[in-house]
Symmetry: C2
Subunit: 494 residues, 2 copies
Amino acid sequence: MFESAELGHKIDKADYDKQAPVLREALLEAQMDLAASCRFPVIILIGGLDGAGRGETVNLLNEWMDPRFIDTHGMGSPSDEEQARPIMWRFWRVLPPKGKIGLFLGSWYTRPILDRVSGRIKNAELAQQMNSANRLEKMLTDEGALIIKFWLHLSKQKQKKRLQLLEENPKTRWRVTERDWKHYQQYHKLIKVNESMIRQTSTAEAPWIIVEGYDTHYRNLTVGKVILDALRKRLDSTDSKATLITQAPLPLPAIDHLDILKKLDLEQHIDKPTYQEKLEKYQGKLSLITRDPRFKDITVIVVFEGNDAAGKGGAIRRIAGSLDAHRYTIIPIAAPSEEERAQPYLWRFWRHIPGRGRLTIFDRSWYGRVLVERVEGFCSQIDWMRAYSEINDFEAQLVAHNTVLVKFWLAISKDEQLKRFNERSQSGFKRFKITAEDWRNREKWDDYELAVCDMVDSTSTDIAPWTLVEANDKNFARIKILKTLCHRIAAAWD
Amino acid sequence: MFESAELGHKIDKADYDKQAPVLREALLEAQMDLAASCRFPVIILIGGLDGAGRGETVNLLNEWMDPRFIDTHGMGSPSDEEQARPIMWRFWRVLPPKGKIGLFLGSWYTRPILDRVSGRIKNAELAQQMNSANRLEKMLTDEGALIIKFWLHLSKQKQKKRLQLLEENPKTRWRVTERDWKHYQQYHKLIKVNESMIRQTSTAEAPWIIVEGYDTHYRNLTVGKVILDALRKRLDSTDSKATLITQAPLPLPAIDHLDILKKLDLEQHIDKPTYQEKLEKYQGKLSLITRDPRFKDITVIVVFEGNDAAGKGGAIRRIAGSLDAHRYTIIPIAAPSEEERAQPYLWRFWRHIPGRGRLTIFDRSWYGRVLVERVEGFCSQIDWMRAYSEINDFEAQLVAHNTVLVKFWLAISKDEQLKRFNERSQSGFKRFKITAEDWRNREKWDDYELAVCDMVDSTSTDIAPWTLVEANDKNFARIKILKTLCHRIAAAWD
């Protein structure tokens, strides 16, 4: 979930100095249009880790925008007056009216997260409070509000560095408190709770926008551009209420063009003898695992997604090759049948969910909704936006039922794909594998790349993580897949 | 919440025999149109108390409709195959496709309710499961499904009678099991859990329709007519998806024209000396209560709604008259100000929520949304439908914060209102109290009556019940109000 926010995004000063004034002017203009039209209120929540720049972001937005139409609320400890009333009263009293922006440093998420990290509440209570947050936000968006939720993230290493940098500078030393270092010690616990919170409350109407907080330039521009994009979309749309609600804020492509796929070292490879040796080793291991008595108590579901010609079929055969035919099923997913189109889109996957003691491989999957259907426009934005949380709900049910869910994205480079397409076109028995559609998809490479990154950010969770597989070398990819699969099943038993 | 389903609704045989064939034909026709258009699936859930006719209703619908386009699923104990998979798999596998009706006896609500009644799960876990149900149903309605949820209810006395009748008849004796009688013993516990479930899962898209289950004729016609109405509305609407979702099923006016307001004995009255004596008694009591040290720990909110000229003002003055002016506030609610219109509709009530140790009287309230705004068309159906759950959420927050919430509906007869209107028009200082709007509202008497009944059914909860006040005699009304108020505060302390 935080993969894209741990890449070390960065914008250099020259670039920032060029972009910032333009963005600032556009934001001011949007804010004026908002005030003039008075059609909807804007609620901006700034949450995130200590040292990730929450306070600085709030200061920046105040500096950039017109303070007459923006109200900032640092929601610290409740006052006496606030304590005497239901907890939400303090937020209601400062909600922005139509035409204005309310900027919240801390929100209705702050307390539940801290309560969960400290163990004062359990998961069920956290879920209950997240449900209340969802209901509140749904009501606000149903009433027309635009809600933009930012979560500023840092990797553990970067958080340490940021806190140290702040401490070293006499001007910012006061900002780092003992509480910050205490939270740092609890980094992994905190991240787990944050992830669970984001998973439960990223809705189509009010999704969380996760931003890496380390580099100030990157953070400022990203936050500013997301706000501008969301504001403009609403302001420029027609006035009908239905349209308003479907104009939800969206994550944008990274402004420094860095993403999780580009970070992959696709050239990793292994030589033939090593491949043979490791293939034997992991196929043997997998075979043993599926004959372990404990295998009867679990379900294994393996999802294969990837670029066209990335080698899904070959990898799947290497898994199947090591298994007793009674223990596995391969489900190839193509365009839905007539029967399937008459049902909700998840239906055609639910029908193939295996019982315990079985391994099922999906060759393409329910992620089609947020990949091909999104990119090709087969469903509307609101439909694929809601699909993230529907998929997370679906997978949470699988995992709650002792399912080990292993999801692979097989990544190849654009050049490698071209090479394979050409090879396939020329080879006799492989020719059927390459179609006009494959060539068409290839033209939308960048759209697919964005969709894949958003998919991983939204659905790679603690309970069902994505494994990105560098697949320019087929042998490397196959071994990584087999090894990951063995590891994930073994980990479930520990 | 179950007030309307404990009135003893009844349709006599002659009437039933006249209406049933017409309804049946219309249902068949709607079903054919559904199958022909193949635009959306219909999911009908039949839940409710033992002996309230769940099984009979399912049988009836099967008899009335074309079995080719209706699939019935008695969701009993899960099979081996079902147990080997996530709990929801058994529902997914039998979801109806577009153009068909799926009829469910038992649903995703059955197990959570029984688990809660037996104490196997706590309230937080019940809330979590209700949240899952909401998310599932939202996904289904977002995908276009029409979900109609019936809850068949019986008063405790009627449940006993039904079970006895079934047992006496040799043909139906087998239907009554020991489990049914065990549930009967737990009636109050069960009702509390049912209410909590309905409060959490009655949404604008898929509201619960509560039907009194005692009289077979009434039950059959009501269930049939709600289905027909919901089907026809969807079938006759244009094909846009947005329209589909806003066409949710609605409760209909009771077919026997009996409702909670008509059941009131409005002629109850008390004589002057008794009134004086009791007024003094309860005003004294209330005064003492507000000076009790424990009063500092609670908040009291009193809501007054009622017919025009029902005597709200007089009753409010009798409460205020007994209190120290420092301890109470009266908030008269009229049309929203410009400032208030720029906010979500609940905002103007949140701003007046008092701190602890205070009593606040709302002269009209947040219920305007589901009364005047609904009847006058100031908001759309989907807006007032979602308001019920938004109001329940709001009130749950108040009550969770030690608020005693007392809600009065002051009911007078249409004749009594006319008398008072005429008196007011003639009396000098009261003339300002009667406006053209009052006369206009009076013309919509029946619409308001339906709105009031729906309001009480949807928002009279265990934690914040409505008190209906028979107000043709002002003295009787005032004493009932003072007495109820004292009683509710005292009960909160116990």
